[in-house]
């Protein structure tokens, strides 16, 4: 019997260890004026938080950060919002999931400076009562980059056909390994398939460029990816990969990492990427193409006469589960961030994140040639949206990506059949549940 005691003691001590660990790891009592900001840790978010921090110090508020990895960001924050957790006072918000959280977020129409932002990108963030649920942090836009040392001003591609021609010419001359490189695997669809789709007068659902869910529903969420306007995009990329060979065959597997690695190693002449990569591409430590980067509006396909680009934002949002005092404080700080023109200029200089406040645009246009160029190739063009704003959007994106990649990795003559099947899959994804 005494031996039993040994066992009990062992297990008691295990329990004690757990209890000790539990009490030791508990957070210290939070001070009243601490706001916790939850985001994914991207440099632009860090820079925007720096502006907030500047104002927080003036209000003697302490800001803390919780980094939530991008891969689990949406499910984890969704779970936090639905359980009414007050863990995050301010969260990162993005147009891709703009609609999902509307009922859990504080409205932001009364935040200072909210009238001085671009209107179109806000489309993703209205709640059912047409109140805003976001405070813009920075714009996220895609841009066509090319190598100025390889492609002269006169040769800059205006159409998809120009792109193939100049790419092949450079490859033949041995100046560069690939004409074009861009991401295509799931969640990178914008940088190959989609920018060409929109610039060829096509879209995923009918009618094209429409984002009003009522109109899309009235059209039965009919996918047009099996229609000629889209089929020719897939044909174009099939040829680019397998026949014209201006892009690596494995492009179907590339994300931003692979595409940027190849472009920055100086192995490709053209790419499409987020505008914020301007800084990395021109950083001598990171890029062999530094100093030779040009930016132009998108080349266009047969279906359009002028370029069209997407214009969307990253933003901040405030959960309803946060105490009213913290909500007010968060709104105040975010308003100060939004009206802090110097702070936004600094964010642009440090990270290349285009400022949310349009007044800053005028100032930067006057003083900064890079911003002037960005404004010309992005902000002054026609605009589309880079996502659809409803709950089934991730499902639609995945179904689209699977169909397009299946078509591009298969035989060319099978493309119509694969896209027909894909159009059905995309429609089913849109009306699922």
């Amino acid at each position: 019997m005494p031996k039993r005691k040994g066992l009990v003691r062992l297990q008691l001590s295990a329990a004690l260890a757990i209890w000790a660990a539990a009490s030791w790891g508990s957070p210290a009592a939070q001070a009243e004026e601490t706001l916790n900001i939850c985001h994914g840790g991207h440099p632009i978010m860090v820079a925007s938080q720096k502006i907030l921090d500047k104002w927080a110090k003036k209000e003697s508020v302490k800001l803390t950060t919780t980094l939530i990895a991008y891969d689990v960001y949406v499910p984890k924050v969704t779970q936090m919002l639905t359980t009414g957790s007050a863990q995050c006072d301010i969260i990162w918000h993005n147009d891709d999931w703009g609609q999902l959280w509307q009922q859990y977020l504080v409205t932001t129409d009364d935040v200072a400076g909210i009238r001085n932002v671009a209107k179109q990108p806000l489309d993703a963030f209205w709640n059912d009562q047409h109140e805003l649920t976001v405070i813009p942090m920075a714009h996220t836009v895609g841009t066509f980059f090319y190598r100025k040392d390889l492609i002269s001003d006169a040769e800059v591609p205006k159409t998809f056909a120009d792109m193939v021609q100049i790419g092949q010419k450079l490859q033949k001359e041995g100046k560069v390994k690939w004409g074009y490189v861009g991401g295509m695997s799931f969640n990178n669809t914008w940088f190959t398939l989609w920018w060409t789709m929109w610039n060829s007068g096509c879209d995923i659902f009918k009618p094209i460029y429409e984002r009003d869910n009522k109109v899309l529903a009235a059209n039965g969420w009919t996918s047009i990816i099996d229609q000629p306007c889209h089929q020719q995009i897939v044909d174009f990329w099939w040829d680019a990969l397998h026949k014209d060979r201006i892009a690596p065959e494995a492009t179907t597997t590339y994300g931003r990492n692979e595409a940027n690695a190849i472009f920055m190693a100086g192995d490709a002449a053209m790419t499409v990427a987020d505008s914020t990569f301007w800084g990395d591409y021109n950083d001598k430590n990171k890029s062999r193409a530094a100093g030779n980067i040009g930016m132009v509006p998108y080349p266009i396909g047969p279906g359009r006469s002028k370029p069209i680009t997407w214009l969307d934002i990253w933003g901040w949002a405030i959960p309803k589960s946060v105490s009213p005092a913290h909500q007010a404080l968060a709104k105040k700080l975010l308003g100060e961030m939004l009206t802090d023109e110097d702070g936004q200029v600094q964010m642009w200089n440090e990270t290349g994140g285009p400022p949310p406040n349009v007044r800053v645009w005028d100032r930067l246009t006057a003083s900064d040639p890079v911003f002037r160029k960005l404004k010309e190739v992005v902000f002054d063009q026609d605009h589309a949206h880079s996502a659809y704003y409803f709950a089934n959007w991730p499902r639609v994106h995945k179904a689209y990506s699977d169909a397009a990649i299946k078509a591009l990795t298969g035989k060319r003559e099978d493309i119509p059949a694969v896209l027909k099947e894909g159009a059905k899959a995309v429609h089913d994804a849109a009306v699922a549940q």
Binding site: K3, G6, I18, T66, A69, V72, M264, F277
Partner: protein, 284 residues
């Protein structure tokens, strides 16, 4: 049948005989080289990656520039040392506590018959099969409602729950392989069941406990999913720090590889420390 076997072993004997001793040594050497290439090679690639400047982290074989900048950048990351301490504590505590609560349960599974061991084995088995990704979000809810989200307990206890199955089963396997007659002898000598376990079964299981300890320590040290969902900024772990280098706009692979190489340091130390118990075992 016997003749056939004898013939076979005869042939084998001659074959090794022809090789021995120089040939055998050559074979051993070849195996050693192959193992080093296969297991060390990829790690060398990772280490080289972490030493390359930004433009060469992917084309690691181009150019000859090397830099320590990636390590400096990682060390400048907020709370990175804190994360190392946290991960070390969590991995060590989870391993020790798991061993504490499950060595006996493995023994029970191996030596006792009846409804309780059977039910216990069945329970562990049934709930092991459900993938983590389907219950990590409810696990967040459990931790949240118990008030232990973002505390050490909130990450320790789920890890212990995962290890319980692993330990109990594999310990059962080991105890199954150990002849119980020695314990019966001890029982006859007047030991209690618990005494027989402590004096006879446990010592012979030391290699197993050490091996499982290493593997579960490494598992917790390197675990991403639970860490990402169940920790906030109080209990940041190294894998959470690594995950922040993956953003919507791509991966900072130079920083991630540097962080991964740094994270291997404590892992190697722990392994070196514990693996001598795996080898030593009964043959002290």
């Amino acid at each position: 049948m016997m003749a056939l076997c004898a013939k076979k072993s005869d042939r084998r004997y001659r074959w090794t005989d022809a090789l021995a001793p120089g040939g055998r040594r050559a074979l051993f050497l070849l195996a050693t080289i192959a193992i080093v290439l296969l297991f060390l090679g990829p790690i060398v690639i990772l280490v080289v990656t972490s030493l390359r400047p930004g433009w060469a982290v992917f084309y690691i074989y181009r150019g000859t520039d090397f830099t320590l900048q990636n390590y400096r950048d990682v060390l400048a990351t907020e709370a990175v040392m804190h994360a190392f301490v946290n991960s070390f504590l969590v991995a060590t505590l989870a391993t020790i506590v798991s061993i504490g609560v499950t060595v006996s349960s493995g023994y029970m599974l191996s030596r006792f018959r009846g409804p309780i061991p059977r039910a216990w084995f069945g329970t562990i088995y049934v709930f092991r099969t459900v993938p983590y990704i389907s219950w990590v979000l409810p696990l967040y809810l459990v931790c949240y409602h118990l008030g232990i989200y973002d505390t050490y307990a909130g990450i320790l206890l789920p890890h212990i729950a995962v290890h319980i199955c692993f330990f109990s089963w594999i310990m059962k396997g080991f105890f199954d392989g150990i002849d119980p007659s020695m314990e019966y002898a001890a029982l006859i000598d007047g030991c209690t069941r618990w005494g027989a376990f402590l004096r006879v079964a446990l010592p012979s299981a030391i290699p197993a406990i050490a091996a499982l300890g290493i593997l579960s320590w490494l598992y917790t040290w390197n675990e991403f999913l639970f860490a990402l969902i169940l920790t906030g900024h109080n209990t940041a772990l190294i894998t959470v720090t690594m995950a922040q280098f993956v953003t919507e706009l791509g991966t900072a692979w130079n920083l991630m590889s540097a962080m991964a190489v740094m994270a291997m340091g404590p892992a190697i130390i722990i392994t070196l420390f514990a693996q001598k118990y795996v080898v030593r075992g009964l043959r002290i």
